[in-house]
Amino acid sequence: MSSVLILVDSVSGKVSKSTAEIATFGRRVGTVIAVVCSSDAALIVPQLAEFAIDRTITCTGVEFEKFSTGAVAAALAALVTKEAPAAVLIASSARGKEIAGRLAVRINSGIITDAIDVDSELITTQSVFGGSTTVHAVVTHGTPVITIRGNAIEAFRSSSGTNAPVHEDFSMSYDGAGGADRSAVLSVAPAVKGGRPELTEASMIVSGGKGTDGNFAPVEALADALGAAVGASRAATDAGWYPHSFQVGQTGKTVSPQLYIAAGISGAIQHRAGMQTSKTIVAINKDPEAPIFDVADFGIVGDLFTVLAQASAGVIAKKS
């Protein structure tokens, strides 16, 4: 039976949701081997028991945090040689795509990024040009390296945790391109998260645009009532109303949550490109002609401040 390597993604020892999702895709193809490249491996491996994973491999002998993504790519390349998998699946984060790019160069293989579906024959589905076109593509050379977007599948989780994958260590070395691949992290100021989910992983997002006039408080209030992430349009980030890292759109993040609420966002192609594959879209805008209504499942023509305040109160009342 063929196997698939998946790269485990984690933040501060906590395995990300995307890992469970790519494992679920991996199962369609064959045995799933999860690769851990982190000094937090001891924390990470037990968390993998509830996912669709058959074997786990911890790469040892390299302080991955001291190198760029090159060290992780080297680890995966060595395991591709050892395990001869049918494919390598990686989450489509910024870091995941860097690792995938380096791995494809290392193992001389084709690469497909940002897949939203992968079938048992490794045929991928991508949503390109801002979600206006669906593409089916396939890697034709080497061991396919495929990155998969978050929220593309309902992740398999074993409730009993009886999945208990077989674990082994893989000892390796990495010289960092003769020492050139060294980029020291001098300091890390932890992200101020405010308890909200990460934008690309969130199952719900409330975004604000020009119509907020710089006041994001009602956007954040509804997001917190729903347990959603906060996003922003380019107009809002360009105006300095919200940090750039929250920008959704062609030049920002591409998201595909269960629910996307656009408040005071007109819906220029620039913005729609980043969100129109969301499952359910709600738009609130003063202008009845705003193009965002063309992609909305539910549109409200009105003042976002009154609508959002009433909706927040309503959601809180419903949940309590």
């Binding site: 760029s68 993504t69 090159g70 910024a94 870091r95 795509k97 860097e98 690792i99 790019g101 380096r102 494809a104 160069v105 084709g110 690469i111 497909i112 940002d114 045929i123 390109v128 040009f129 979600g131 206006s132 076109t133 669906t134 593409v135 089916h136 593509a137 034709t140 050379h141 080497g142 396919p144 391109a177 050139a180 691949d181 060294r182 980029s183 992290v185 300091s187 100021a189 992200a191 729903l226 750039h244 890292s245 030049t251 591409t254 629910l259 220029a268 620039q270 879209i281 709600v282 063309d294 499942d297 539910f298 409200i300 023509v301 009105g302 609508v307 909706a311 109160a313 419903k318 949940k319």
Partner: protein
């Protein structure tokens, strides 16, 4: 210091893009522009040189040089000229019919050949092109060149032969440093790219723009282009338009109606 900035000409990011019959992006029907995100890389290069120039200006007197490099058809010279008019010193276009349909692996191979040949100390890129949006070229270049990789920089500073950057990741704000040679990608908002001045536009016409063929960089036609692309599009189709949903006018109850809609869809 020799700086290279890799740029790409892309369809205008505000235009609707579609696939052509050859299962590749139809580039002919839309305006071509310099990739938005590459302008930040050009501006970063200019600002770095200005900060380390005895006269505070770019150009020969600075003791540094900025070369813009692009792989693309002849009309990509428009984007290279724009970079020259902003202040870059010279430009290289790798243009060969055989390159049409190349994948990211080939593009990075071609760029790496030109960068190695030019002996650059620092390579700057945008984070991605707004057409393909793969965001893999900077990492692929680092892998091929064996340069230090500092990607998604929100701030860049040079101290001697050490580059310092700061960047925002899921872990927080990271301060990083590496010795040259290095490859950096810069995020949007790192700076405000300058508009070419009239003087800059006039001067750009006299700046060197070198055209290289595959033969010039030592690659063969068999190694590049669509036949050497290691992924292939089987088919593509326009996404069916979303069914337009209900649109209501807020009569003072809009928020409550939204809550009912969310409950109906089992979202709350």
């Amino acid at each position: 210091m020799k700086i290279a900035v890799c740029i790409k000409q892309v369809p205008d990011s505000w235009a609707e893009k579609k696939m052509g019959n050859d299962q590749r992006l139809d580039r002919a029907s839309v305006d071509a522009v310099l990739n938005d995100l590459d302008e930040y890389a050009i501006e970063s290069a200019l600002a770095l040189v200005e900060a380390h120039s005895p006269t505070g200006e770019v150009g020969e007197t600075s003791g540094h040089s900025i070369t813009v490099i692009s792989m693309g058809p002849e009309r990509a010279t428009e984007s290279l000229r724009k970079a020259l008019s902003m202040g870059a010193d010279d430009a290289i276009l790798i243009n060969d019919d055989a390159l049409a349909g190349s994948d990211a692996l080939t593009t990075s191979k071609v760029l790496a050949e030109v960068i190695t040949d030019g002996g650059y100390d620092l390579v700057l890129c945008g984070t991605e092109s707004t057409d393909a949006r793969m965001s893999v070229i900077p990492a692929m270049l680092a892998e091929r060149l064996g340069f230090a990789q500092l990607t998604f920089a929100g701030k860049v500073a040079l101290n001697g032969s050490t580059i310092n950057i700061s960047r925002q990741t899921e872990f927080g704000v990271e301060e990083m440093s590496a010795d040259l040679p290095a490859i950096i990608s810069v995020v949007e908002k790192i700076n405000e790219p300058r508009y070419p001045s009239f003087k800059g536009i006039m001067a750009s016409k006299k700046k060197p723009l070198v055209r290289k063929s595959l033969h010039d960089i030592g690659l063969s036609a068999a190694e590049v282009g669509s036949s050497a692309a290691w992924s292939t599009v089987k088919d593509s189709l326009p996404r069916p338009p979303r069914g337009v949903g209900a649109k209501i006018i807020d009569d003072g109850n809009g928020g409550s109606q939204l809550v009912s809609f969310l409950a109906e869809r089992k979202l709350i």
